[in-house]
């Protein structure tokens, strides 16, 4: 086909299925059935929507090699693995839509497995912090229209959420913030001078692992008990922290964003709890809200879906026939490190790259089923590989932005592959079929017994 014969379309207000900013202002040019150009996206988003090398067909590992099979064969094999496992782990879910997540929960219930999301290795501690303290939040538009102080703590949106500042926080103009960046103060707290820190009005470099102490010091200042704060906290002179606390109290509307710098340094969920307490206490003086900087575009979605379907946001064990949640016991890394799972299904994520090494070694010991549009290091461990359509490009569905706002992802082009939801439905049907034949096989025995 020549370029002239191809019809070109332009889709507007397209959502980006990369990061938790879930930008909905992309303009996508489509030629024939291919995304040709993406405008208004950052480079991360553009490269996600443009796509790259895909898994072409379902595969099953035979004699150590992945061999092409039909979808039905792959579904049946996946079902067999899950049904035969005593405690399968169904993991991932952050980079797919809620419709697939719902099917994933249903499948986990059916096979009595454990469902966990990638939150367990990123903002899991934030969720534990929220369980302890609650969270004073807002939609991003509220921050855009009102915030005159933005705090970034242990996060680096300039690299990880490139449009955050332009759309929602530091640089955007809103109703009560017509001057944008000029009318706002930006405070960055981190262990190194990131690109985000370079744009700050005030940057506080703290010692690695001192988040809890520094947050405590700020709480003391906010509570008017500065006299108890030592001369230096986390390597930062007392006066500097006093100034930061003052800056926060003086804001008309402050917004505190935090990232893995808090959740993955010493203290983890306690750091988050302390940050949430600081924000709650600031509300005695002014208006302050707080938000975790969620990474994957729909990692917030799996937390929401799991909460309304099961009552718990992550790390849910269905082996007792009901939903049971006990992080430390039922999180993906817990069961893998104890070698307490005998099959793993990975959906839209890459634990082989993201889990600690010892845990990846354990993952390699059990049969792994992978559902993903793309090959990644987890593919190398997988026994069954099932390619799927890219949500938000090749199929529709719901995603939750980092502030909990639900939006509908669009379908831009056709896919030769079924959606994640379709794949999961296929496996669910295979599980039913297997269970049906098992029940039939059992029935005569039971009669004679």
């Amino acid at each position: 086909m020549s370029g002239q014969e191809m019809k070109t379309r332009v889709e507007e207000d397209v959502l980006c299925s990369f990061c938790g900013c879930l930008c909905d202002d992309l303009v996508v040019e489509i030629e024939g059935n291919k995304v040709k150009n993406v405008r208004h996206a950052c480079r991360l988003g553009a490269s996600k929507l443009m796509g790259h090398e895909r898994i072409r067909t379902p595969m099953i590992r035979k004699n150590g090699k992945l061999e092409e099979v039909s979808y039905q064969e792959a579904y049946d094999r996946a079902a067999q693995i899950l049904v035969n496992a005593k405690r399968p782990l169904l993991y991932g879910w952050a980079s797919t839509v809620c419709e697939a997540q719902k099917k994933g929960i249903l499948l986990t219930e059916m096979v009595g497995g454990i469902l966990d999301s990638t939150a367990t290795v990123c903002h899991g501690p934030s969720i534990l912090g929220i369980e302890e303290r609650g969270l004073s939040g807002a939609t991003l538009g509220q921050i855009k229209n009102r915030a005159d102080l933005i705090v970034f703590w242990g996060c680096n949106p300039a690299e990880a959420h490139p449009k955050h500042g332009l759309r929602y926080s530091t640089n955007v103009c809103g109703f009560f913030t017509p001057e944008g960046r000029k009318g706002r103060k930006v405070l960055v707290v981190d262990v190194r001078q990131t690109r985000t820190a370079k744009n700050a009005d005030k940057f506080i470099m703290i010692a690695t692992g001192s988040d809890f102490e520094v947050l405590s010091a700020l709480r003391m200042f906010v509570a008017g008990k500065g006299e108890f704060v030592p001369e230096k906290v986390g390597g930062v002179p007392k006066e500097e922290l006093f100034e930061a606390a003052d800056m926060m109290k003086a804001a008309k509307f402050g917004a505190f964003f935090f990232g893995l710098g808090i959740t993955h340094s010493r203290g983890r969920s306690k750091n988050v709890g302390n940050a949430l307490a600081l924000i709650a206490e600031l509300n005695a003086h002014t208006k302050f809200v707080v938000m975790p900087m969620r990474g994957h575009y729909n990692v917030a979605g799996i937390g929401q879906v799991a909460a309304w379907e099961t009552g718990f946001p992550m790390s849910i064990d269905f082996s007792r026939g009901t939903a049971y949640f006990n992080p430390g016991e039922t999180a993906a890394c817990d069961v893998l490190s104890r070698e307490d799972t005998d099959a793993v299904m990975v959906v839209a994520s890459d634990p082989a790259s993201n889990f600690p090494r010892g845990i990846v070694e354990n993952l390699a010991k059990v049969p792994v089923i992978q559902i993903d549009p793309y090959e990644n290091p987890t593919t190398l461990l997988a026994e069954v590989v099932i390619p799927s359509a890219i949500a938000g490009v090749e199929c529709e569905g719901t995603a939750y932005r980092m502030d909990g706002l639900a939006l509908r992802m669009k379908k831009l082009v056709n896919s030769p592959h079924p959606s994640d939801e379709g794949v999961l439905n296929g496996i669910i049907e295979s599980v039913k079929k297997l269970r049906g034949t098992e029940a039939e096989a059992k029935a005569p025995n039971e009669a004679s017994a």
């Binding site: 507007e12 207000d13 959502l15 909905d24 202002d25 809620c98 249903l106 219930e109 969720i127 929220i130 369980e131 302890e132 303290r133 609650g134 969270l135 004073s136 939040g137 807002a138 939609t139 991003l140 538009g141 509220q142 855009k144 229209n145 009102r146 929602y168 103009c173 809103g174 109703f175 009560f176 008309k252 509307f253 709650a280 509300n283 005695a284 002014t286 208006k287 809200v289 937390g303 929401q304 909460a307 309304w308 379907e309 099961t310 009552g311 718990f312 946001p313 269905f318 007792r320 026939g321 009901t322 939903a323 049971y324 949640f325 719901t398 909990g404 706002l405 639900a406 939006l407 509908r408």
Partner: protein, 567 residues
């Protein structure tokens, strides 16, 4: 299907405890039917219960779940051949909500507050709730476009916006919570009374409420405005309640119903000047409702034990958290609302809680006409809905009330009139308060009664109304109502003796109101500007897509002739 021999209470059709066979065909009550027979001889039979104000779906409910794993663990039940696993007590998961309403003999429940912007989420959850029919009331009370129209005194444009907002949210009615307060909370403030201007917007809560009430009637919406008053939860707030009610006195209803429904009146019937001299003003409120018939209320009863408070009244929740030193979640919604969630426990020995408990009782018992006062616990603010049978058994038994009064803080007897109230409700009162009146107040014509053509939503209770004396045998009443013998939803046997037999998919009601084109165009110009400059998403991504409401019942309203379309 035929339900044989039950003692039927169907007050909407003038039936007060008569033995009647109910015939059901294709989901409706009919004259004559064949097929399966259900033996209800001598048992209490009523229409399926209707909950007109309950927080069952959406961002704040889920925030409650996420911050309360302790609560989820309270209600763990295993999956069955029909059921998904259940969890939770005050904030159950979606499945538990459907199953537990069915166990109570309830077949319809309306989510009381959804911001337009977050309605997609609300519908995602509503869709997962099995068995019951549902709908959601849309929040308009702190909305920038509403306040702009009110300030410009352009009621036609406001009507166009309300119609559009209902369509955008696939919502059922106009909910107003602490009008103007949600906007003030954007900078951590609140409005103090109905004539206290909303900061930066130059309108008062009174103007917001009155304009929305007028527009509600010009659009001929099935439900009236549904209001959570300013100053809710504060000592002395009954004056705010009465002042607010007076605003609606002269507004003519466009349908056979009230012009204002007051949400959880208990929280707005307080006297005193502080928590120290806190007392009931329920008699004054009941007196108002006895003299005026343009208004209805739900009681918002509290019960002792665990609750999760959640409301679009965000400053109230901040106050609760501050007072009780408990965990607190807040969520502000750009250009529209704010909200908060705080778990708490109501204690028998706490004087304020004891008085609150008695106030709810007083409101229900002192308001003479049960059509004007319906039963709620403002689930899960006052108590989870599973405790409705406790409330009913209290309303039917003075003995039980006196027992409870002797167990709780003595100020409940001193600062309320409950001790002296002799009234004991009968089954007719209860059928009105729990089904007939909520359906009428919501404008659901086929619900809350058992006439020919009504939805075949029926509850059969294991209680012989001709033998049981609710006054002395209140324990039997509570037990029977907690677990319906049979709950039939849309002609399907959904629950039997506490076991879910089938989990049919429920429908979602929403209202599509028409307005004049030129008004809509004028309104859209405002909106375009708001989306270009202030919202954080595009207008084209805002409205709830049809995919989120796969089983809709669209009620038509507006200037055009009213017709009902059930696809």
């Amino acid at each position: 299907m035929i339900i044989r021999g039950g003692i039927v209470y169907d007050p909407a059709n003038g039936i007060f405890g008569e033995e009647i066979d109910l015939c059901i065909d294709r989901g409706r009550i009919v004259e004559d039917a064949k097929g399966e027979e259900i033996d209800a001889h001598d048992l209490l039979v009523m229409a399926g219960g209707v909950d007109a104000h309950s927080h069952i779906a959406g961002a704040k409910v889920n925030a409650g779940r996420i911050m309360r794993p302790d609560d989820a663990r309270l209600g763990m039940e295993q999956a069955t051949a029909v059921c998904r696993p259940s969890t939770g007590y005050t904030v159950p998961n979606c499945y538990a909500i459907g199953y537990r309403y069915a166990h109570l003999g309830y077949t319809t429940a309306f989510e009381a507050a959804t911001p337009i912007l977050e309605s997609r989420h609300t519908h995602e959850e509503l869709e997962e709730i099995p068995i019951i029919d549902k709908g959601a009331l849309t929040l308009f009370g702190s909305n920038w476009e509403v306040m702009q129209c009110v300030r410009e005194n352009d009621l036609k444009k406001l009507a166009a916006y309300v119609a559009w907002g209902l369509r955008a949210s696939k919502g059922y009615g106009v909910k107003i919570v602490n009008p103007g307060g949600g906007e003030a909370w954007g900078f951590g403030a609140n409005v103090k009374g109905i004539y206290d201007p909303v900061p930066n917007f130059d309108v008062t809560p009174a103007e917001i409420m009155k304009s929305l009430a007028q527009v509600n009637e010009s659009l001929r919406l099935p439900h009236s405005i549904h209001v959570h008053f300013n100053n809710l939860g504060k000592p002395g707030n009954y004056t705010t309640a009465i002042e607010s009610l007076d605003l609606f006195k002269d507004i003519k209803p466009s349908r056979m119903r009230q012009v204002v429904h007051v949400a959880h009146m208990q929280f707005s019937a307080y006297g005193g000047t502080s928590w120290k001299d806190f007392k009931s003003e329920a008699p004054a409120i009941a007196d108002y409702f006895n003299k005026n018939h343009f208004c209805t209320m739900d009681i918002g009863q509290i019960l002792f034990g665990s609750a999760t408070t959640m409301t679009a009244d965000a400053p109230l929740e901040y106050g609760n958290a501050h007072l009780l030193h408990t965990k607190w979640s807040n969520h502000d919604i750009e250009l529209e609302e704010s909200s908060g969630v705080v778990p708490l426990v109501y204690l028998r020995k706490n004087p304020v809680n004891a008085i609150q408990w008695a106030i709810g009782m007083e409101l229900a018992l002192l308001t003479k006409d049960p059509w004007n006062v319906i039963l709620t616990t403002d689930h899960p603010n006052g108590s989870p809905f599973v405790n409705y049978p406790e409330v009913v058994s209290l309303l039917m038994s003075k003995v039980k009330r006196q027992e409870e009064l002797s167990n709780i803080h003595e100020l409940a007897s001193k600062r309320t009139t409950l001790t002296g109230i002799e009234r004991e409700m009968d089954w007719c009162d209860i059928a009105i308060m729990t089904r007939a009146a909520p359906a009428k107040i919501l404008g659901l014509e086929d619900k809350g009664h058992l006439g020919v053509g009504a939805d075949a939503d029926v509850a059969v209770y294991d209680l012989r109304p001709e033998e049981v004396d609710p006054s002395t045998q209140h324990d039997l009443v509570k037990k029977a109502l907690a677990v319906a013998k049979y709950t039939i939803k849309g002609g399907v046997l959904a629950s039997r003796d506490g076991e879910i037999m089938a989990a049919p998919v429920g429908r979602t009601f929403w209202v599509d109101a028409s307005v004049a084109k030129e008004d809509e165009e004028r309104m859209m110009e405002d909106l375009k500007e708001k989306f270009d400059r202030y919202y954080s998403i595009k207008l084209s991504n805002y409205m709830v897509q049809d995919a989120y409401v796969p089983n809709p019942v669209v009620i038509k309203a507006g200037a055009l002739p009213v017709e009902e379309v059930a696809p």
